[in-house]
């Protein structure tokens, strides 16, 4: 598989999971209503985009009986003056057509992204309360800061997926991103790679699947339990500013160390295995050898469970930064207890994805892929940068880490 294809596949999986997850996130759904909605549509005769938007609005009116459209011909002087005023209200410097105002939102131009957003906005206003800024302007009422609809600030039009409100998916994205980066962290991966390299010799695919799969499953369960325990502890202390500063500082230190490791390897051009904790690594390697050579499969599987627990426990200090940061973000958002299980599981799923890829490639090709060690180094850089950003926000702007849920 080409690198670009792999990147695309990973991105697609992340996006799909994000969207799937967003549908199960605690989004409050307003009861469907039939609010009247007025769209103020500034157009210029002969303008192609205006014609396209008019077709869209006409179709929408046929579907929505409470929708009305008021048109303004921009070629008329008085309408130009109105649009100039309205654009200024929205602090928009582009005064051009088509220009559309609906509720507390406006759109300049018309394309597929605007169509999707406008469509969604109209549907949302039909079902929920909103402020019609244009109506207030026309009746000379004062326009308040709270009248503006900030929803679009959080909307992104993604390829394939379509329009996504980041407030609905932000914690899901954080879980996916941090879990994925954490999974690439090479702290505990060497044991999986070593174990795979040993069992590959047997050419017994069933044995390889069982041993590798159980190692990953046990690692996932262990990590899940550790994160839930940590989250419960964090939840008790999260309100204390001092605790936030401590966690933020730890994130900054861990992030700084990760970036240092990456830069050191790059500068010295010695990208390989660091000779540290050799005694522990030798013990793990001996244990893995015992498992690979065990004639009894049940005994080997018991050994795998033990090995996975030991190696993850021993390497916990090495890879604790991102789980720590993630549980703190969950706690800051008041996501604890049962409500947090989905997010932690999403984190773990993406934590295990790179291991699954390395394992899958190994099973099918009977070789250990160099990809594993290569991407691991970049995990130091990306993970470090993320930890520094979140650590900084946790200390100085914790409110930014409070993702609101509609």
């Amino acid at each position: 598989m080409k690198k670009s294809h792999l990147a695309l596949a990973i991105t697609s999986i992340m996006m799909a999971a994000t969207v799937i997850f967003s549908s199960s996130s605690p989004v409050s759904v307003a009861a469907a209503g039939d609010n009247p909605v007025t769209v103020y549509f500034f157009y210029t005769p002969g303008c192609g985009q205006c014609a396209e938007e008019r077709t869209f609005l006409n179709n929408k009116i046929e579907q929505v009986t409470t929708l009305s459209v008021i048109e303004y011909d921009f070629s008329l002087t008085e309408n130009r003056a109105i649009l100039t005023d309205v654009a200024a209200i929205f602090e928009e410097t582009t005064v051009a057509t088509p220009f559309t105002v609906v509720g507390g939102l406006y759109y300049v131009g018309f394309n597929s992204a605007v169509r999707r957003s406008l469509d969604k906005t109209i549907d949302r206003y039909i079902a929920n309360d909103y402020v019609d800024i244009m109506a207030k302007y026309l009746s000379d009422e004062p326009i308040l800061e709270t009248d503006f609809d900030r929803t679009r600030d959080y909307e992104y039009d993604l390829p394939i997926i379509g329009l996504v409100d980041v407030r609905n998916v932000s914690l899901g994205i954080v879980a996916v991103l941090l879990g994925f980066i954490d999974g690439i962290n090479p702290c505990a991966m060497w044991v999986l790679i070593f174990l795979i390299s040993l069992v590959l010799g047997s050419k017994d695919k069933k044995r390889i699947w069982l041993i590798g799969g159980l190692f990953l499953l046990t690692s996932g369960i262990f990590y899940f339990l550790i994160m839930m325990a940590w989250l419960n502890t964090v939840a008790l202390l999260v309100a204390k500013t001092a605790f936030q500063i401590v966690i933020g500082s730890l994130a900054l230190i861990a992030g700084g160390y990760n970036i240092y490791s990456f830069v050191k390897a790059k500068v010295k051009q010695e990208e390989g295995c660091e000779v540290t904790n050799v005694t522990m690594k030798q013990k793990m390697a001996a244990k893995a050898r015992q498992i690979a050579n065990a004639t009894s499969l049940p005994l080997a599987l018991v050994g795998v469970v033990g090995l996975a627990i030991i190696v993850n426990a021993v390497e916990l200090a090495c890879s604790t930064g991102l789980p720590l940061v993630f549980t703190q973000v969950l706690a800051l958002n008041g996501i604890t207890g049962v409500g947090s299980i989905g997010y932690v599981l999403l984190y773990i799923l993406f934590f295990l994805i790179d291991d699954l890829v390395v394992f899958g490639i190994a099973v099918f090709t009977l070789k250990v892929s160099p990809l594993a060690t290569k991407i691991g180094r970049y995990a130091h850089l990306v993970g470090g940068l993320i930890m520094i950003v979140i650590g900084f926000l946790m200390i100085f702007f914790p409110e930014i880490l409070l993702f609101s849920f509609l």
Binding site: I193, A265, G272, C273, V275, V278, A285, R289, T373
Partner: protein, 86 residues
């Protein structure tokens, strides 16, 4: 006679990746021989060779003389380029 002495450890994924690359090089360049030394099993030799903080280490000898030392993970092309100058 030229020799590649590769110092590896079982716990080192980069060693797993580099071993076949050096072996492939030796198969193509018959003037080279290949010897692998386990880092954990040969502490005194490793110490004598001053293997520092990163594995694998490939020490290239011409006769008895060490001429080049390649450390860590390198692409097959990189190995080819660095060894072609010897």
């Amino acid at each position: 006679m030229k020799k590649i002495m590769l110092i590896t450890a079982v716990w080192c994924p980069s060693c797993l990746i580099m071993r076949p690359r050096y072996q492939a090089y030796v198969q193509k360049h018959l003037e080279f021989s290949f010897e692998e030394v386990d880092f954990d099993d040969n502490p005194s030799l490793v110490k004598k060779l001053s293997v520092a903080k990163t594995l694998p280490v490939a020490i290239i000898y011409t006769g008895e003389r060490e001429v080049v030392r390649l450390i860590g993970e390198l692409s097959a092309q990189n190995v080819e380029e660095k060894l072609s100058t010897i």
